[in-house]
Amino acid sequence: MTTLTSTAAPARAVAGRLAAPIVLVLFIAAVLVPFASLLLAALQPAGAPLTGFALPDGLHFENFSRAWSAAGFGTLLRSSVLIAVCVVPAAVVCATLAGYALATLDVPGRGRLYAYLLLGLSIPTEGTIIPLYYDLRAVGLTNTVPGLALAEIGAFMPFGVFWMRAHFATMPRSLIEAARLDGASSWATLWRILLPSSRPAVTTLGVLYFVWSWNQFLLPLILIQDPSRRTAPAGLGFFTGQFGVDVPLLAAATLIVIAPVVLVYLFFQRHFISGVLSGALKG
């Protein structure tokens, strides 16, 4: 009996110490194994019979070149970049100006305007997509970069204003008052005093906007019907429907589409994680 308890106690302590690493390894494996399976599939020769986890008989990178040129993912990637280049800077600037005004300036009806903007946080794309299609088509903006970009900027505004307002509200009040007393205009206060120390907040917003814009699916699926102007995820969606059986090609195309967003994430991961942890999810 005594021997039993004396061995049970250290055993429990060991189990307790091992719990953390075991849980972490399980989580990491759960994330990485599907990726590994897809990567292995992308390296298989085209047309070979496939199973989920099998080493290829060599590295067949030709799937990637087939996806890039023959399947047109090079072009798709280019239009995704174009959309992101239009959306991210514009949306960040708009959100920064509005967040600054709501946090520090004497805005008439401030509370109501802020509440009006926050309402947008719970508008799903499904709620706006039907008239967006018919109305943008009526003014000739479907199948265009500006049409899709404006729709994304509109959808991204509520979170951005929320984020930048919260950021500017944490800046010391005395700093702003001192700038005003020195005769700085509101514009100069923003650009010369506040923005230089706002790099982290602005970068986080920019990274989130890039990821959302890149990953957006329903908006480009509906608003861009012209195959040559589709964004990468939308193109991937169509491609799956048509060539779902050519697994190595589809796997290579998928890896091409996720590569840019994964690179941006790895580079700015701290920013991205802090943004998501504070409740940012859209699209």
């Binding site: 399976s37 947008g120 039907i130």
Partner: protein
């Protein structure tokens, strides 16, 4: 206006705007000063509105007005081509009676189980296990990997999992390897398994996020509370329910609102993996709105469904935020 002017007029504006006893005697300079101050304030308020305009304009034009337009369309029977005809609330009535639409609502509810309840439970238990004994080493790398599913487009997630669930995918391969080959199935094509299979993809996407969220929450909790509890003889389970869970209220609110919105407005994942099939066994509101409005020629019903979906999401977010603010 020169800098000196502005300094004179702008700063005391607030003091002047507040009512104060008027001194006897006409004081021209004083009145003039007040008038400049008022116009200065008005000017500054106009400028402040100009700062808001670049955000308000695209938001109003491309989110709010379309939403209102959706509400308007929901009162019409319209195929997208011919003239719409007014039908009042009929489209909303159809949502209640149509079995396909009811199935979509039911599936959205089931997805909350997989997108919210399950990941939050998994994340919470994992965070509790890890935080109790964890050194901080390696947490950076762990975070990086656990957030990966958050970063990649859901379309890619869908393709990833189509391959996992495929007849020759790793899931069936693993089952065969451990002698359970009889259980192997074409998961996404099965009437029984397609919905849970799709749901578990959602669990995969957000579990890591929930765990990191709760982990950063537990690090915020003062260690002395745990020590006091341990001195009072609380075991790990008691500690978990009496300290960790109640003090993680803000993290619950964030996790719930993120995941409930993701569950209710899910579209990308279902579109890629099952398209709503087999039959209607995985249709969700998003898929039906897409089908009805852009293929089925029932724009009115789709709009009504979109309005109901938006309302449900707004109420859910509101309730979650209320609950999180109330004292435990």
């Amino acid at each position: 206006m020169t800098t000196a002017d502005r300094r004179l007029t702008a700063e005391p504006a607030r003091a002047l705007a507040a009512p104060r006893p008027t001194k006897p005697g006409p004081d021209r300079a004083g009145r003039g000063g007040r008038r400049t101050a008022r116009s200065g304030r008005r000017r500054r308020r106009t400028v402040a509105l100009l700062y808001l305009l670049p955000a308000l304009l695209p938001y109003t034009l491309f989110s709010v007005l379309p939403l209102l337009h959706t509400a308007y369309l929901s009162f019409f029977d319209w195929d997208g081509v011919t003239l719409p005809s007014f039908v009042g609330l009929d489209n909303y009535g159809r949502i209640g009676s149509d079995p396909q639409l009811r199935a979509a609502a039911w599936h959205a509810g089931a997805l909350i189980l997989f997108f919210s309840v399950l990941p939050i439970c998994v994340g919470l238990v994992a965070a509790a296990l890890v935080s109790r004994r964890a050194g901080r080493r390696g947490t950076g790398l762990v975070r990086t990997v656990l957030f990966l599913p958050q970063v990649i487009p859901l379309v890619a997630v869908g393709i990833l999992w189509r391959w996992v669930y495929a007849e020759d995918g790793i899931l069936n391969q693993a089952l065969r390897a451990v002698g359970l080959g009889g259980l192997a199935d074409a998961w996404l094509g099965s009437f029984t398994w397609a919905l849970p299979a799709v749901g578990l993809i959602g669990t995969w996407v957000v579990s890591g996020l929930c765990m990191v969220l709760f982990l950063s929450g537990t690090q915020r909790i003062d260690q002395e509370i745990y020590e006091a509890a341990r001195m009072d003889g609380a075991g790990p389970v008691r500690e978990f329910w009496s300290i960790t869970v109640p003090l993680l209220r803000p993290e619950f609110a964030v996790a719930l609102s993120i995941t409930v919105i993701a569950a209710l407005s899910s579209f990308d994942l279902i579109y890629i993996t099952t398209g709503g099939g087999p039959g209607n066994s995985t249709v969700v509101p998003g898929i039906l709105i897409y089908r009805l409005a852009f293929g089925g020629g029932a724009v009115g019903v789709a709009s009504a469904l979109a309005i109901v979906l938006t309302a449900v999401i707004s109420v859910a977010v509101l309730v979650i935020n209320r609950l999180s603010r109330e004292a435990p």
